[in-house]
Amino acid sequence: MPRLVGLVWLSCAVVAACGSTASERPRLTFSGSAVGAEGTLLRTQLARFSQRHPGIDVDIRITPDAADQRHQLYVQWLNARMVTPDVLQLDIVWTAEFAAAGWVQPLKEESVDANDFFPAAIAADRWRGVLYAVPWFVDVGLLYRRVDLFDRPPASLEALHGDALAAVQRGQAANGLVWQGARYEGLITVFLEYLTACGGRILDERGEVAVDSAAAVRALTLMRDGIGTFVPRSVVTSQEEQVRFSFQNGQSAFMRNWPYAWTLLQDERQSSVAGRVGVSFMPAASGGRPAAALGGGQLAINKFSRHPALALSLVEFLTDRDQMLERARVASQLPSRRSLYDGDELARAMSLPIGDLRAAIESAVARPVTPVYSEVSQLLQVHLHRALTRQEEPREALTEAAREMRALFARTGLSGQDAP
């Protein structure tokens, strides 16, 4: 028995000793996408950071790559006030939620050179006028087209639909246009592009719900009426990859998708349309403006981090020009700093058509910045999908979605002026 007690004491001492050495030497923990080429790149850059800050190691906390699952983990950790991870990769639509909950640190605009970022990207990282995250890379909705069928991008949304219908009628492609119409976040980004093209908004400039406007009904009607004529019926179950397959097999004349598809479409081993692809972005209908939905990754600092100053230097490092350029070259992720698009450095680093992409990002429109975005998105997804599958008329669907959104804002104590 005394031996056992001794053993217990000994192990306590060992644990205590390990604990104290760990606290002498600060370790940062980073959580974000760390699979494939992105993971290799991240490890390289974190090692470089450690070289510049001798004695500081950065651990990677692996989290699921599926956005919903990562979000769920973050919320659980931060609710429990966990001190790690120190630096978090946030999706662009989470920043307001985490800021309002008091889970991420406010940042100084000048310390991250905020003026250099694309305005739509940095605006999505502010909550009540304060910056809470830094755009790490951007993603943007593009309109791909077959240049052998249409050498110029359509001048208007009406022209796009006319071209798509003509391509089907002339037998040039089975489908005129494909987009992401399954009930998930991707559907919101497509709707946002149609909505902006028609001159509508989800929340207006005062933050009031505006998704039941006449422009919104017109946008949703345009989306729905294409289905079954030049948009295939299967679009209501399609996500990014299904529409990419349709387009790269030569079955579709136009496709709405993200920049990642470009490299794959140019790969002759899998794509039958390599060399015959052009990109632009969703053109305006009458009364609206051309629009590309904005996505991307942001970096923020855990409010409960024990090393906020170090965490900030890691964020500054990962979002500096050199690391962004390397990220563009290795992982094909688009830099969020505007100045990188000025020279030809970026064009040399990526095979993507940088000029077209820059034009799209300059026209980018962000999703509503509100702490309850995920709920706004979910209820809108349901009604959009019902309208696309003809269970509800567009006007009815959007009226109902708006009613539910207003009830949500009332229930959560968020008023109109809380939105940007």
Binding site: N79, R183, S234, T237, P371, Q378, H385, R386
Partner: protein, 289 residues
């Protein structure tokens, strides 16, 4: 007489001996249920910490009653069970009789019949989804974009997957029936149909009730098949209650409201479980003494 009387010491010892088991049962069954009930009585939204976690009594349940998506989810769950369970029972009975009567290649028939049961549900659902998607391109019917036809692949996959389970349960029941009963029935000139209706079905009743109970309880909790095949769509036309509770809990992180939905599902299955225990005691013939 001495064997039935227990001293206070014995009963204390007995209590001591069963305590660990009771603690484990309470820990893994009662405590989580009680915690969920308690959570369901609070407004608790993980994403809105500034609202706190106030006690709101039946507020979440009242909200559910006014929530069209919840009412539809209950209707979907009940309708799915009402359609799929009778299909599974009748096909399972046919399969059991086939397995029972076949003489040659008995092992092979049983393995073939059981195979769907051995495949993980998520895999089976995915395969069925791909098949229906391909049928769609061939037939120009898009099963998953219509609120009614989207149910067909779900029911087909679930029936295909769980019929073997019913068949095995019923086969065990068939094997307990004394063959001599059939011999005397044949001597009396009863037709095979008559034998089936007046011998097989009544003697198989306990097994049928057990199979129906298991399948109904499973069907009420259906999650994986629609999750993989339709994700509850189009819109929310194929969303059962368990998926809506999951969405409220894990996607919207509304722990209070999601717990209330889970409790509703629990209450629904509990009522069915009680009813089936009753039905079973009525179906079980009294043992001849």
């Amino acid at each position: 007489m001495t064997t039935t009387s227990t001293s206070p010491h014995d009963s204390r010892l007995a209590l001591l001996l069963v305590t660990p088991a009771l603690v484990v049962i309470a820990g893994i069954a009662l405590v989580p249920i009680a915690a969920t009930v308690w959570e369901a009585l609070h407004q608790h939204d993980l994403r809105l910490p500034w609202l706190g976690r106030p006690f709101i009594g039946a507020g979440n349940f009242i909200e559910a009653l006014g929530d069209a998506r919840f009412r539809e989810a209950v209707a979907h769950t009940v309708a799915f069970s009402a359609i799929s369970v009778p299909l599974e029972l009748s096909l399972g009975l046919a399969l059991a009789v086939l397995m029972h009567t076949v003489r040659r290649g008995r092992g092979l028939v049983r393995v073939a019949a059981l195979l769907p049961w051995a495949i993980p549900t998520v895999v089976a659902a995915l395969v069925w989804r791909l098949m229906f998607e391909n049928v769609a391109t061939a037939m120009r019917v898009d099963w998953f974009s219509d609120p009614l036809t989207a149910w067909i692949p779900i029911v087909v996959a679930d029936v295909w997957k769980t019929t073997p389970f019913v068949a095995v349960l019923l086969l065990a029941g068939l094997q307990t029936i004394d063959p001599e009963v059939y011999d005397s029935a044949r001597l009396d000139g009863a037709s095979p149909m008559r034998q089936f209706l007046t011998i097989t079905i009544p003697l198989l009743a306990p097994s049928l009730v057990v199979a129906a109970a298991f399948r109904t309880l499973d069907a009420l909790r259906i999650f994986d098949v629609p999750y993989v095949m339709t994700a509850g769509g189009p819109g929310t036309a194929t969303e059962p209650l368990s998926m809506y509770a999951f969405a409220a809990l894990m996607e919207r992180l509304r722990f209070g409201y999601g717990s209330a939905l889970s409790i509703t599902l629990f209450a629904l299955t509990f009522v069915v479980a009680l009813a089936s225990v009753r039905a079973l005691s009525r179906a079980t013939p009294v043992e001849p003494s």
